[in-house]
Symmetry: C2
Subunit: 231 residues, 2 copies
């Protein structure tokens, strides 16, 4: 159906290719904050038309990953530490909301799922398997979010999260960090399992506060760059 004779993608698909590609490049650090994104370059790089690149920029701007300056194109948005803290503060209350709802709605099967994640996290930290810990961390957030059933809040968090991945990178997998975050994660699980909304919310908020503290600490002493996004 699609012609695709010379490798040039077309259709709405083309926009997604650019959006996903640029997003991945920003999140992985290939594109640095402040870097200019020239339409013609991306047109060639992704083998799409300029219109698709343009449309993709609109999406990425809405996502907060890039900013557009009139007549000067788009550049990767630079997020200051102060702004990152503000973003995390918002995330904190939103994650708290989700955790509270999760505590109210969790059923037996979901509870078992959480228990397994908690056990896995403890084992991973004990054995120093940071990669597994990072993976379980993402899984925990996803599971709690699913139990909480607050798609609006979850959506906001996703957007906020992507804006500060670069800051999170700096503190992820920093030596000793898993030892700090593990009990915080377990506290969230416990709160949900106990059907204690207030406790789950408090635990979630405290966890994000701990991330903020770590980020502010690391602001002056930039840590090593790693690939997993554990917090």
């Amino acid at each position: 159906m699609e012609s695709e004779e010379n490798g040039v993608r077309r259709g709405a698909e083309a926009k997604e290719v650019v959006v996903d590609g640029v997003r991945a490049a920003i999140l992985s650090g290939e594109l640095s904050p402040g870097q200019r994104l020239v339409e013609a370059e991306l047109t060639e790089l992704f083998a799409v038309t300029r219109g698709s690149v343009r449309s993709a920029f609109a999406d990425l701007t809405a996502e907060g990953l890039v900013e557009r300056i009139p007549n000067r194109g788009v550049r990767v948005r630079r997020v200051s530490v102060e702004e990152a803290v503000e973003i995390l503060e918002c995330r904190g209350v939103l994650e708290g909301l989700i955790a509270a709802r999760a505590a109210m709605r969790v059923n037996d099967a979901q509870a078992e799922q959480l228990r397994q994640i908690g056990d896995g996290m403890q084992a991973a930290v004990a054995s120093g398997d940071v990669l597994t810990y990072s993976r379980l961390n993402s899984q925990l957030h996803a599971t709690v979010s699913e139990i909480g059933a607050q798609p609006v809040a979850a959506d906001l968090i996703t957007r906020l999260r992507s804006q500060i991945v670069r800051h999170q990178f700096q503190l992820s997998l920093r030596p000793g960090r898993p030892q700090v975050s593990l009990p915080e994660h377990l506290a969230i699980i416990e709160g949900v399992l106990a059907h204690d909304a207030a406790r789950a919310e408090q635990a979630a908020r405290r966890h994000v506060e701990s991330v903020i503290a770590a980020l502010q600490q690391g602001a002056e002493a930039p840590g090593t760059l790693v690939q997993a996004a554990a917090d």
Copy 2:
């Protein structure tokens, strides 16, 4: 410099004209949820090119006011009561965050400003001047937001708020509503004035919870449509 000979606007200005116009139309109720927005119609209505309309649609989609269905155009987004509640729940925790920060940062001049707003609100409710009450309500939110100095949270709230104006309309200025919300508003002011972050946050969250309750009540018994957006 701008030609503007035949009334057709051009430049980046054109997109903004459409965005503002459509947004105002949606918020004021001229455009009903689910209503289709045909590009050609808006092109004629606003005297802009189709490209500007298209670009404006991208912005409005990001704002959550309209939704785009591939090859079927955009329509005014229909927000269910359930989703409105979810949005309000997010707003609740975010407003709580701002109120808490405001309590921590408020200075004497700002405190006096809040006191005046509070007094004005009491007087307005006592005399039944709903319009002034509505105006002061907006002013209170803006002032607290300014004191809280959380632009990220404030921005999220603005976006969330615009998505449910139609629902808020239904309950605004409903008889007896100001009597319910006045003490809630005063509690927020008191918490901030007392530099009591926890109290201010609780007050802000309780206020939004009250809005949720009113909205759920009014879901089955649709109220009268009014123009001011008090909550």
